[in-house]
């Protein structure tokens, strides 16, 4: 059942679940949302699904509950579903705080039920290939990386709760940063040290800079914005080449091995025949990666495959985000502010950590 019928359900879960219903892999049994208008929109895609205002109005045992409500409701919904014998796929960010997320993961462990987190970019073939490049080192060891992601905010928010710090504790770092930090944790593990700054002045940050250092000497810069178009590119500098991943181009990479022309193109599966270069089908697109995430969760529920992004992984990225906020090194330098404005901004920022 789908709990929460807002924008993420409309634009991501509805088309993905429709495709999976058509393949016979699963069936959407019920929809839950307090807003009749939001329910009606999703009901158009799933006319046979029961429509309910509350998750609690449904029998959950043995079902998969997709929690896609606003983040402040994630913990309560997931805990209720787990306590009633359901498996849960929780949309990112997993919760509003590490404490909530840990409670959810602990509940899953205790109940033995499955808890997955919707960090679907791990299913991008380009992100999988990058993990292979970092771990198997065909271009030598990774030395340095730069990440610039984000642009003018374009998501169709249905209320201002997403922008109220009292309701949603973080801005761009918690929003798009949760994917970025999850991927970095997946690729490189925990950083040794970090330096984090943002531009929040009593509210949520619209821009943030994060510098990371790792035990093996690798370091990187992350620049996120929901204010202004960034390059939307990840650059990885290896000992013998550079790799570029463009944000959300799920099956595309550009590779520049030293001394060679730049290779830019779609990632394909290899033919199973060893020693022979034969292109297989193009690997998953962005929407297909989202579907693959759901397929993985469904397979894991039936015990046919290991779960690729369990609750503990969602806790890790949230923990790193909380560490950034806790160790915030101050305001970003905003050189267009006057000295008096800068002083006022720093005062406001430091009194509203």
């Amino acid at each position: 059942m789908l709990a929460g019928c807002g924008a993420v359900s409309r634009f991501f879960y509805a088309p993905a679940l429709t495709a999976l219903e058509a393949s016979g892999l699963l069936r959407v049994e019920a929809l839950a949302d307090p807003s009749p208008a939001s329910l009606a929109v999703l009901a158009a895609s799933f006319p046979r699904a029961r429509q309910t205002a509350r998750l609690e109005d449904n029998a959950l045992s043995g079902r998969l509950v997709i929690v896609a409500s606003p983040p402040k409701f994630h913990a309560a919904a997931a805990l209720h579903a787990l306590a009633n014998g359901a498996a849960v796929l929780c949309e990112k960010p997993m919760a509003n705080s590490v404490a909530e997320a840990e409670t959810m993961a602990a509940a899953a462990r205790e109940s033995g039920a499955l808890l997955a987190v919707g960090l679907y970019k791990r299913f991008f073939p380009a992100c999988e290939a990058l993990k292979g490049l970092i771990e198997q080192q065909p271009l030598g060891p990774l030395r340095f990386f730069t990440i610039a992601e984000g642009g003018k905010f374009g998501w169709q928010a249905a209320s201002d709760s997403f922008f109220r710090k009292s309701v949603t504790p973080g801005g761009v770092l918690l929003d798009i940063g949760v994917h970025v930090l999850d991927l970095l944790l997946w690729w490189l593990g925990e950083p040794d040290s970090l330096l984090y700054r943002d531009d929040a002045m009593g509210g949520q940050e619209a821009n943030c800079h994060l510098d990371l250092r790792y035990a093996d000497g690798v370091y990187g810069e992350v620049r996120l914005s929901r204010d202004w178009p960034t390059r939307n590119e990840y650059h990885f500098f290896f000992e013998r080449g550079v790799v570029r991943y463009k944000v959300n181009e799920a099956n595309h990479l550009e590779i520049h091995a030293d001394g060679m022309p730049i290779l830019s193109g779609t990632l394909h599966g290899m033919s199973p025949e060893p020693g022979r270069l034969q292109l297989g089908a193009p690997l998953r697109t962005n929407p297909q990666s989202f579907i693959e995430q759901l397929r993985n969760v469904a397979a894991a529920v039936h015990g046919r495959a290991p779960l690729r992004v369990p609750g503990e992984e969602g806790v890790r990225s949230l923990r790193l985000i909380e560490r950034c906020y806790a160790e915030r090194a101050g305001l970003l330098d905003m050189p267009w502010l006057t000295p008096a404005e800068t002083a006022a901004a720093e005062k406001t920022a430091s009194s509203n950590p």
Binding site: F153, D160, Q204, A206, R226, T230, P335, A340
Partner: protein, 363 residues
């Protein structure tokens, strides 16, 4: 003063909120049309309002308790006129004392003739529909304020630059990708105004009693050419001005769809449209949707060594301006004295480019 600000998520609105909030000068009520527009202003805790700016009743609710309104929202030509009327009616319903409206120097055209000032009569025969819409918006506000209770002050800035400005970001991008061009030698006048100078003009317009009912051209204090503007950015980005091509003014032929759009936006056409049968409207839309413009250029050419020139119709007109718009009326009546020089305004704008990730050379 408690001030409602329409267009609070735009580039001028963002800077206004920064100044008001960090300077503690005014209590701001930002007004925007969608929740997504809150993303940048949410850096502050603010009592924002989200409503349809074309709906005077909803807007009046947002304006309740405000002493003044600054109207800085942008939109398409029909919205520009509609919002001006809506903002005035809402301000009146909410008993607001004064509305300061960001009109535009383009009511005189992008390249106004010598001698143009606030006394120059306005017309509706502009090449750009934006200019005509601004003329109509001003006319609507004058008509409403002639009998209404709310004071109106019109500000007419031209090229407003600064952090987040398209003039800065577009020029920087074009300089970096090799598509930057200047009309002729770039010696035409850039009637620019650094955003903080516009904020200063807004501050004066909010408070000076004798500003009521007046329109003011506002700009920087210096005489600046487009070559000066581009050279300052090119130096900061380490790009040689030799890469900036000098071109003749291109001729623009606007697509049929746009021309039909202009025609339907005319007030007279708007009055007639309700009488046109729906079938005819649907047929026209279908024809327009399937209309193929003739191919713009010959595809059988050698590969380009550089990207083609990025020059819009608006920029082409601006870069033919030979008249420095006077700010003497604003100085005399408004007490306008631009506090930021062109050099300092560009230094701050370049600082923002570095903040936004552009490859600015450290000095």
């Amino acid at each position: 003063m408690k001030i409602a600000l329409t267009g609070a998520s735009g580039f001028v609105g963002t800077r206004l909120l920064e100044q008001w909030r960090l300077g503690g000068t005014h209590e701001a009520v930002p007004v925007v049309r969608s929740y997504g527009s809150l993303a940048v202003m949410a850096r502050f805790e603010l009592p924002w309002a989200v409503c349809d700016i074309l709906d005077p009743a909803a807007l009046a609710k947002a304006f309740q308790g405000c002493d003044a309104v600054v109207h800085a929202a942008i939109g398409d030509p029909a919205q520009i006129v509609g919002m001006a009327e809506s903002v005035y009616r809402a301000a009146e319903a909410a008993r607001v004392r004064r509305v300061v409206v960001l009109s535009s120097a383009s009511v005189h055209g992008q390249a106004p003739p010598e001698g143009t000032d606030e006394n120059t009569p306005l017309h509706e025969r502009h090449a750009m529909v934006y200019n005509t819409a601004k003329v109509r918006a001003e006319a609507a506000l004058r008509r409403l304020s002639a009998t209404g209770s709310v004071e109106v002050v019109l500000l007419r800035p031209s090229v407003v630059y600064g952090p987040r400005s398209r003039w800065i970001a577009d020029a920087a991008r074009q300089l970096l990708d090799g598509s930057a061009c200047l009309i002729g030698d770039g010696g035409a006048i850039c009637n620019g105004i650094y955003v903080d100078n516009l904020v200063h003009a807004i501050e004066r317009a909010l408070t000076v009693p004798q500003a009521s009912g007046e329109a003011f051209l506002v700009g920087d204090a210096e005489h600046v050419t487009w070559h000066d503007f581009y050279r300052t950015l090119a130096d900061a980005l380490g790009v040689s001005m030799e890469t900036v091509r000098s071109i003749e003014p291109p001729v623009f032929r606007r697509p049929l769809k746009e021309r039909v759009g202009d025609w339907t936006a005319l007030p007279a056409t708007q009055k007639l449209l309700p009488f046109v049968p729906g079938k005819w409207k649907r047929l026209t839309k279908l024809l327009l949707a399937n209309w193929q413009e003739p191919p713009a250029e010959n595809a059988w050419t050698l590969p380009a060594e550089r990207p083609s020139c990025a020059v819009t119709e608006e920029m082409t007109l601006l870069q033919q301006c030979r008249w420095r718009l006077p700010i003497r009326k604003a100085r005399a009546l408004l007490g306008y004295a631009p506090p930021v020089s062109f050099a300092e305004g560009m230094r701050r704008s370049i600082g923002w480019l570095a903040f936004a990730g552009y490859p600015v050379i450290p000095r």
